[in-house]
Structure formats: structure tokens, C-alpha cells
Symmetry: C2
Subunit: 353 residues, 2 copies
DNA sequence: CGCGGAACTGACAACGTTTACCGTCTTCCT
DNA sequence: AGGAAGACGGTAAACGTTGTCAGTTCCGCG
């Protein structure tokens, strides 16, 4: 009647002993055969593998971990960014781990900057072999100190500070910011509103620095009053955009530091009756899904999130699998950004014929 | 010079033995003290805790797992759905596990319907205690058979078939489909185009059944020629919408089976010069992020993904933590949908004054 | 002053696998 | 025939923790 009652029986998982008995060899030979070690004849190896298959035997990972002194768990920690960013990170990392022995544990953690040691405790408590640190955790020096002290290896994805520390996967945020700003300035815009991301992310300031360089390069002045602070979320971005657009005179272009906030600016513009890109140009950042599903599609900067996560996982795993005498691996790798010009940017109204 | 050379030293993790030595009691007592078990005097308990804190001691989870015969790992498997759906699932499940001993391992797997036993092998090989199955894996009977045979507990999120099997968290997809279709029909639409999701997801057909009921209820005919098949992705949804909108006469409303495809329909409508909702009404499904960041915001059906994932994790954990003699828990839980009427739907052109 | 019982503590085995070391028995080569 | 290399098994130990059980201490009470 109750299907769960059947499993109340002795449902002991099959162990290596069972396989040994079935194939008529010693447990140790089973181990050797299944792990493709030498000193096993082809006949016995096949015998063992058949028996294992028939019994649906899967070696107990926990026991293997205990003896290997590794959990084969890699953590990924991030802080409420946009869903597509998270998924890109995960997919990149998982793609690298595919068919490996490692498993990916997700560990979102908010407000890492305010309580780094709490995050550190979480990471330690989780029993990881290594951890992938996305912004802003990758820039929490206190956290890095703790991890170093406890000997937990980490790979940092797009950190902005202390770039000599640990495995570092970067993108030149300054150059990326400069590229998108130059694009807008090239088209003739001068009054440019800026919606910053979360100030806790060092990337926000790096991108702003890029904007400044573009302005300097073009001999134009970046109006500090047109810089407002967001936090990478749509809701706050919407208010920030409304704030900017109600200025007099209003900016003719808005640079948002991620696509979600750019999409919010798009909505704010529509609410005020402004056409994009004819009345107002909007550029985002990240090349996330929303930049493609928005209308018009957003001009943005492609951030190779998946590729960086892949790389981070790759180097972290290389580090974990390295025999300790091996030569130090190069710890740093820089990825290229790419400006994607789409439909949300155009010359300012005055310039149109 | 090379910072990694320092860790080549004996960086043995601190064990319970170290704590025992430091506090001058037996390892067993340390274990008891730290786990807040009885039979330890307050004095000794404090002594041990102090020593543990001073040594930054964290018990080895692997060893604990070995003896508990549990890995404290819960898997989540899903198949390339929209990022916000994945993130909602994860957040819901993680929210339940917060501060528990369980950890969430993500296991995306594509084309589960074509090779269920491969997915099963992956789940088994990963050493999980239990697994959360999102669509369409939750409806792969072959997979459920394999998991049952191996005794791996699972919770199914919004399955459509075999609802008596395992832990089942459902939403009435038929009723949800009926609700959104009724909304559109109520406003006076008759020529309604439909963009189905991936046919491998049983939910696609359930929602369609709901549409049919709404049409029947309103005494209207659902034109089978206006049903096109998508796969839940934006790109395919775009082509499907273009296909529908080029019919003569074109539909005055489109029901898309998820928000991504609805956003694509929005873009397709704009490409053809149609205004939404004045010329064309569009409704989505899921209440995902894109339904809020699109413009106009999409009328959609809220699917309580996070809440369902929370529930799935909750019941799965209850099952895992249950002493085997405990009474059978209720295995089924149904969540309510909610129709969200937003800006993308309005009466058809002929009805407007 | 001794006794019963509760409270506390520790020795030992166990979880399932791999590693180490050594011994035996084939097999095949010269 | 002698010898060497390869194949395999036995036994023991290890990984770090907790369950079992027996032992010790401490207390109040007769």
C-alpha cells in the first residue's frame, strides 16, 4: 500500500565487497580493475566491470573523498546579480567540470562586503576543495586573508584589487567602460547621464574611470551632476533613470552599468514619452539576456562571463589536481570585452537631419 | 618569492585530535561537546569550544558523511530553461536549506527525454542524498524507475504524469492556461494565436488543454491552424510569432507559453509595425523577470517557482531526515497560480471605442 | 561510612575505500 | 631448467569522525 514501506527493508547500498564476491576476486583487485590501474589482466578487468555494471555499483564518493583528503566539491559564490549573469557563471564553470569528478555547489551570499568573515565561515563549513569568487566577494581582502589562512584555494573572477593574489581572471573594465562611452561620444552626445552599479562592486568605479578617459580623449566634460548611483537592480535603475531624465536640460544619452538598469531606463524613457534611440540613447553593460530581449535591443558591452568562469574553474582545478612539487602555474588571465552596437543608441536629436 | 611554496609545507588540516590534545580530553568528549550532546560538564564543554575556536577547527564533513551514510548533498537538475526560472528554483531551494547541513549541487542536463538513463547515471554517480527534478526530467518515467531501483529519493516540481509517485509539488497548469485564455477571450478576442513551449515538457500540453477549456467555456472555436510549436526560447519564439502575424487575417492576440517567447512576440510585433496592446495583445507565462523588464510589461501567469522549489526541498529534506519508522508524510502539495494582468493585453481593435 | 545511581569520560570499533607491503602462483622467455 | 616479470590475494593501516559500551567519578541519602 505505502510504497515507502518497501524501502524500509535493508536497502544497503552495494559496496565493493559485493562486487568482489560476485566476480570472485578480492576487493582490492576490484578497486584496481575499476580504477584502470595496472596489474590486472584484461579478463579479470572485464569480469569485474561486468559484475559492477550488473550490480549497479557506484563507488562511495564519500569514502574516496575521505582517503583522498578532498571533497571534490567546488563552490561558487555570488551576490544577487541578474539571473543571466549567475546562469552564465554556472554554465561556464560546469562546462569545464563536465565529466570530471568535481561537483559545483552554489553559495549565494548577500552583503558579503559587510560581513566577510561570515561568508568565509560558510565557505569553510561547506567542506569545499576550492571556491570561485564572483564580484564583489572577489575583492574582499578580509575574505581572501581568511581563505589563505585556512588554505582554501580560490579563483577570482574579474577582481579589481590586489591582482597578484590567487588565481585571477580579469577583463579590462576600464577599457570596456571607455569603449562604450567613446561610442556614444563619437555619435555626438555631450550631455551623458550615468547610472552607476553597486558601489560595493569595484567594477563600478573602474567602468566610471573608463568613461572619464573617453571624455578626456574627446575633449569633453563629464558632468558630475549627471552621475547617479544604482545597485544593478531594475527597480533602483528605474528611479535613477527617472531622476536623470527630469533634469533640465535632460541628458541625450544614458550609460547604465548593467543591462537590467538599461532596460529600466528604457521603460522610464517610455513612461516620459521619449523615443529610444531617437530622443534618447541608452547603453547597457554585460550582454545579458535582457539586452537581447529588450526592444530596441540594447547597445552593450559583451562580458565573456561564461568563458571567464570556465577559465576560473580550469585553473582552480589545475591547482587542485597539481602534485605539490609542480611548477607554479600562471595565475592570471585576461579576457577581452567587445562593444556590441545595437538599436538603442543613435546620434542625439540635434544631429539628426 | 613564490607564495605557493609556503603551503608546500605540512598544512595538515586541524582535526579533532588537535582539539582533544589542546583541551586535555579525549576526542570522543570533544565530539560530544561540540555537537551539544549531553554527558559533558559545562566546564569541559566550554574548554573544548574555546580550544576549537582558537584552532579554527571545522569538523571534516566527509568523515561525518561517511559514518552518517549520507553526503548531505542535494542535487537540482533542470534543462536549459530561462535563466530567471533556474535562479528562482535555486533560490527557493537554497532558502529552505539555509543554515542546514545540506548543500545544493547544480546538475543541468540537456535532452533528458532522449537519454534518461544517462541522466540517472549522472545523478547516481554524483553521490547525492536526494534530487530535485524540474521539468522535463520530473516526467521521465524511465528516470524515476532508475532512481526508485537505486533508492535515491526525489522531489518532482510541477510534474504532469504519474502524480502518485514520489514527492510531488504541482501547480494546476490546466487551470492556469484556462485563466490566461479566459482573460483574453473576456476582452473580446476570438482569433487567438498560440505559441506552444517545448513539446517534451508535459506542461505545454496541459496549458493548451486549459486554453481549450476556456474556448469551450466561452463558446468559441480554437483555430488549430493558429497553434505553432516553439521550445521556450526567445529565438524560436520570434520566428513563431512572425509566422503567426503574417497570417491573413492575423490573430488579434497571442498566448505564448512562457515569457521569453512572449517578449519575442513583442519584438516581432514591433518589427511588423504593430502596436501592443492596441493592435495586438500578448500574454506570457511564468512571471519571470523579463515579463517585468519588457515594455509594455507582460500580462502573464505567476508560477510560484521559488515557493515550489522551497516546498520541494522542504519535503525532500523531511524525507531524508525522517527516522524510517516515522509515518509516511503527505507526498503531494499543490500551489496556486495567479493571473497577472499588465500592459500587454487589451480589447481587440474592433472593440475599442 | 558505605551504597546506589546518575553524570561524566574514554577505549575501541565502525563507516567504505585506497595504499602499503609482502607472498604466492602463474606464464613466458632464454 | 632456471629465472624474471606479471598477476593476484592477504593482512594491516589509514582517512576523521561518531556509536557502543564499559569504566570512573561524584553526589546525596540511609
Amino acid at each position: 500500500m505505502d510504497s515507502s514501506s518497501t524501502e524500509a527493508h535493508i536497502s544497503r547500498r552495494t559496496t565493493i565487497i559485493d562486487v568482489a564476491k560476485m566476480s570472485g576476486v578480492s576487493p582490492k583487485t576490484v578497486s584496481r580493475a575499476l580504477n584502470d590501474e595496472p596489474h590486472v589482466s584484461a579478463r579479470v578487468r572485464q569480469l569485474v566491470k561486468d559484475a559492477a555494471a550488473k550490480l549497479d555499483y557506484h563507488p562511495n564518493l564519500t569514502a574516496q573523498s575521505l582517503i583522498a583528503r578532498r571533497s571534490f566539491l567546488i563552490g561558487l559564490t555570488y551576490e544577487r546579480p541578474s539571473p543571466s549573469y549567475v546562469v552564465d557563471l554556472q554554465n561556464g564553470a560546469l562546462d569545464r567540470m563536465h565529466n570530471g569528478r568535481y561537483r559545483l555547489v552554489v553559495l549565494p551570499f548577500n552583503h558579503a562586503s559587510e560581513r566577510p568573515e561570515e561568508l568565509g565561515k560558510l565557505l569553510l563549513r561547506t567542506g569545499l576543495d576550492g571556491v570561485l569568487l564572483a564580484p564583489p566577494a572577489c575583492d574582499q581582502i578580509e575574505l581572501l586573508d581568511l581563505l589563505d589562512r585556512q588554505g582554501l584555494p580560490y579563483a577570482r573572477i574579474t577582481p579589481q584589487k590586489d591582482l597578484a593574489r590567487g588565481i585571477v581572471i580579469t577583463m579590462d573594465e576600464v577599457a570596456a567602460g571607455q569603449a562604450v562611452a567613446s561610442h556614444v561620444l563619437d555619435m555626438g552626445h555631450s550631455r551623458v547621464g550615468i547610472i552607476l552599479g553597486d558601489p560595493a562592486h569595484a567594477a563600478s568605479l573602474a567602468r566610471l574611470e573608463g568613461y572619464r578617459r573617453a571624455f578626456a580623449e574627446h575633449g569633453k566634460i563629464l558632468d558630475e551632476n549627471l552621475i547617479v548611483t544604482g545597485d544593478f537592480t531594475y527597480a533602483v535603475g528605474y528611479d535613477a533613470a527617472l531622476d536623470l531624465l527630469r533634469r533640465d536640460p535632460a541628458p541625450t544619452a544614458i550609460l547604465a552599468q548593467n543591462d537590467d538598469m538599461a532596460a529600466a531606463a528604457l521603460a522610464a524613457a517610455r513612461a516620459l514619452g521619449l523615443a529610444v534611440p531617437d530622443d534618447l540613447s541608452i547603453a547597457g553593460f554585460d550582454d545579458s539576456e535582457v539586452s537581447r530581449t529588450a526592444w530596441p535591443q540594447l547597445t552593450t558591452v559583451h562580458q565573456p562571463v561564461s568563458a571567464m568562469a570556465w577559465d576560473a574553474a580550469d585553473r582552480l582545478i589545475a591547482r587542485l589536481d597539481a602534485t605539490h612539487e609542480g611548477p607554479a602555474l600562471d595565475q592570471r588571465h585576461e579576457h577581452a570585452h567587445a562593444l556590441l552596437v545595437r538599436g538603442s543608441t543613435a546620434p542625439p536629436p540635434a544631429y539628426q537631419e
